[in-house]
């Protein structure tokens, strides 16, 4: 059983985000990137499966670029068996194009399960798992909080809103969007990462499928407009007055 984990670097929200001069994109020159939190959970779940003997291989994949080596060495230090960076020719200008490129790389690598974080700060629509699955003609289950593998099938626990859980059975290969691993993502000690840097090698893949122009056009990007602020009321009577003025009491 071979699991591929797709790792994405996303803008670190600890920094203030700014819009660039075009008014249509983030100013990435000032941004610090970090590994997407949900992807850390995807990696953790994959490593747990390996530790439980339900998976043999965990391959960490990420787009080649600044910081990608650190992401991959850290994944290896945590327990991934192999790490590869994906060289992408051209630019993915929306999450659908990006997902297709990832699907191409995943296909080239080959695996029984593809795990990704359910969403990311720059992709709240959570489309990576479904589009990768559609591109590869595989089943997809997203918002997952637990996976058990037995032979060629997987039991998958999916979370719905309102505290409802469902258990699915999926034939492998399948694409899983991880919401949360069964335990918090582990910490990779610096000395372990350094040791891995000296001994392990990072492989490479490439993806170049041309999808034509993006079907999405960004018209403008701006921080949310500031509200007029809140008014502090002194008593219940004041509240009643406000409600009366609004005609609701």
């Amino acid at each position: 059983m071979k699991i591929l984990v797709l790792l994405r670097q996303v803008p670190d929200l600890v920094e203030d985000l700014e819009v660039d001069d075009s008014g249509k994109a983030l100013d990435v020159s000032e941004i610090k990137f970090k590994l997407n939190e949900y992807d850390e959970h995807a990696l953790e779940e994959a490593i747990l499966l390996k530790e439980r003997g339900e998976a043999d291989e965990v391959v960490a994949l990420t787009q080649e670029g600044e910081g990608s080596e650190k992401v991959l060495y850290t994944a290896l230090a945590k327990g991934a068996t192999l790490a590869k960076s994906i060289a992408i020719s051209g630019e993915a200008s929306d999450s659908a194009q990006f997902a297709k490129l990832m699907a191409e790389a995943a296909k080239a690598e080959g695996g029984d399960m593809i795990m990704v974080g359910v969403q990311s700060v720059d992709d709240r629509d959570g489309q990576l798992a479904p589009i990768v699955a559609a591109s590869l003609d595989m089943p997809c289950i997203s918002a997952v909080t637990g996976v058990k593998v037995s032979g060629n099938t997987a039991s998958i626990f999916k979370e719905y809103s309102g505290g409802i859980m469902a258990e699915f059975e999926a034939d492998l290969p399948a694409v899983i969007g991880i919401q949360a691993a069964e335990q918090p993502p582990r910490y990779a000690p610096v000395s372990k990462i350094k040791q891995i840097q000296d001994s392990a090698e990072i492989g490479s893949l490439s993806a170049s499928s041309s999808n034509g122009a993006s079907s999405i056009e960004v018209l403008a990007l701006a921080p949310p407009p500031k509200g007029e602020g809140a008014k502090m009321l002194d008593s219940g009577k004041d509240l009643l007055d406000v409600l009366k003025d609004l005609g609701v009491a």
């Binding site: 600890v14 920094e15 203030d16 610090k32 910490y187 000690p189 610096v190 000395s191 990462i193 350094k194």
Partner: protein
């Protein structure tokens, strides 16, 4: 049983006393329990770790237990750790490993030189490599490796606290290599990011300025000193932090390297040299200011008419033997009456924040009746003091929380010594 000294004693098949059958099997109740019956592989593993060998010296006199700050609010101490090891505990995988605050009070009284100050970080290093890390510590380590501070704050905002300063401050983060200052001031995480730490940092700037000190800060380039990371066993991260900060010390020539955090003082003085090969002229701010006491006294003309007491930080006192510098400053505060707490100087009680304790409140709470800082603040309140003075940036937030916990709000104030010094200097 045949070789035992009780072998000749009479063994009855059945014993009936007052009509009650108390017959039993010849069992462990009647023979001394042999320690070999327990699995001591955990103990053997621990004493094989470089740095942790002295655990083997313990002969269980228990002097340490009476001195252990965690024992005051729970059940702990090196002797109890040793006992657990004897009966089969593997410390590396046990919560017990994380209760020690590395305050070193046990080391002070131990007749056998069992050095928990070395054993605990060595054992934790093994735990960290094996993945046995409490969640709270894991989160802290992740923040430090990502941002260079344990709060997970943006590294770029490390100098944001300087904004209220009217005159400019020399921020060397953007300066050319070789820019020199008399005092290179290592501000530290809590002064840079914590609200109450900011207050003390601004006071420090004013005191420097009024003394006419030529000083500079490392601003956004500075990273946490790493001592707490070393003490929770993340030696690789500590090494990176030491190399990073020391390269900055090298880059900007200075006469004195002043720190406000005793943990930074400890790390830079004792542990950076082993990694970087460089020795720095590092002084704690209480030492730096007490060396300028005459000038400082001339400036401190406003009276501070309050009863004050003082908490010795473990990493300035027991770890680095500095008890006088803060006291010299306190005794120079005009109008103040200084009352010592019963547990002071060498016997000072730990605030609970050292050795990673700052980030272990959740885990430690499972084993203690109250926070160590709460226990300490009770003692401060009992002295009748109105102000609890501190000179370690970890303590302001810990003790202010504790003041609330013991309902002493309005009765006891927590202040950094430098805040009081600054309050005694009139504007001008």
């Amino acid at each position: 049983m045949s070789e035992h000294k009780y072998q000749d004693s009479v063994q009855l098949e059945q014993v009936i006393v007052d009509g009650m059958d108390i017959s039993g099997h010849w069992n462990k109740m009647f023979v001394p329990r042999a320690l070999t019956q327990f699995d001591i592989s955990g103990l053997e593993q621990l004493r094989d770790i470089p740095g942790a060998e002295s655990i083997n010296n313990c002969y269980q006199c228990a002097k340490c237990v009476g001195s252990c700050p965690v024992e005051y609010v729970g059940s702990y101490g090196p002797r109890k750790i040793y006992r657990k090891l004897q009966i089969g505990t593997n410390l590396i995988e046990d919560d017990y490993l994380w209760l020690c605050t590395t305050c070193k009070n046990c080391v002070r009284v131990c007749p056998k030189e069992v050095n928990m100050g070395e054993i605990i970080p060595a054992a934790r290093e093994k735990a960290v490599l094996g993945g046995f890390i409490p969640d709270e510590i894991q989160e802290m380590l992740q923040s430090v490796s990502e941002y260079g501070n344990p709060m997970g704050e943006s590294a770029r905002k490390r100098a944001k606290w300087t904004k209220p300063i009217k005159d400019s401050i020399k921020n060397l983060a953007k300066a050319e290599e070789g820019e020199s200052v008399d005092v290179l001031w290592f501000v530290g995480d809590f002064y840079a990011y914590h609200g109450r730490g900011n207050d003390a940092a601004l006071a420090m700037v004013n005191v420097f300025n009024r003394l006419g000190v030529d000083f500079g800060i490392l601003g956004e380039a500075e990273k946490t000193d790493g001592d707490s990371q070393r003490l929770v066993g993340e030696s690789g991260l500590f090494e990176d932090l030491a190399n990073h900060n020391d390269a900055l010390f090298e880059k900007f020539p200075h006469k004195d390297l002043v720190v406000n955090d005793p943990h930074a003082y400890n790390a830079i003085k004792k542990f950076y040299p082993g990694i970087t090969g460089n020795t720095r002229n590092v002084t704690h701010y209480t030492q730096f200011l007490s060396s300028r006491l005459d000038e400082l006294k001339a400036l401190m003309t406003k009276s501070f008419d309050k009863k004050v007491t003082f908490h010795d930080p473990c990493y300035l006192g027991r770890h680095n033997d500095e008890y006088n510098a803060p006291r010299e400053l306190i005794n120079s505060i005009p109008g103040a009456t200084f009352i010592e707490m019963p547990r002071h100087k060498e016997q000072s009680y730990c605030c609970g924040g050292g050795g990673g304790g700052m980030w272990l409140d959740g885990l430690v709470a499972n084993y203690t009746s109250e926070r160590l800082s709460t226990n300490r603040v009770r003692e401060a309140v009992e002295t009748g003091a109105e102000v609890l003075l501190v000179c370690c940036p970890y303590e302001v937030s810990r003790f202010e929380d504790a003041v609330k916990a013991v309902n002493a709000e309005g009765k006891l104030e927590v202040m950094d010594i430098v805040e009081v010094i600054n309050a005694c200097i009139p504007e001008g």
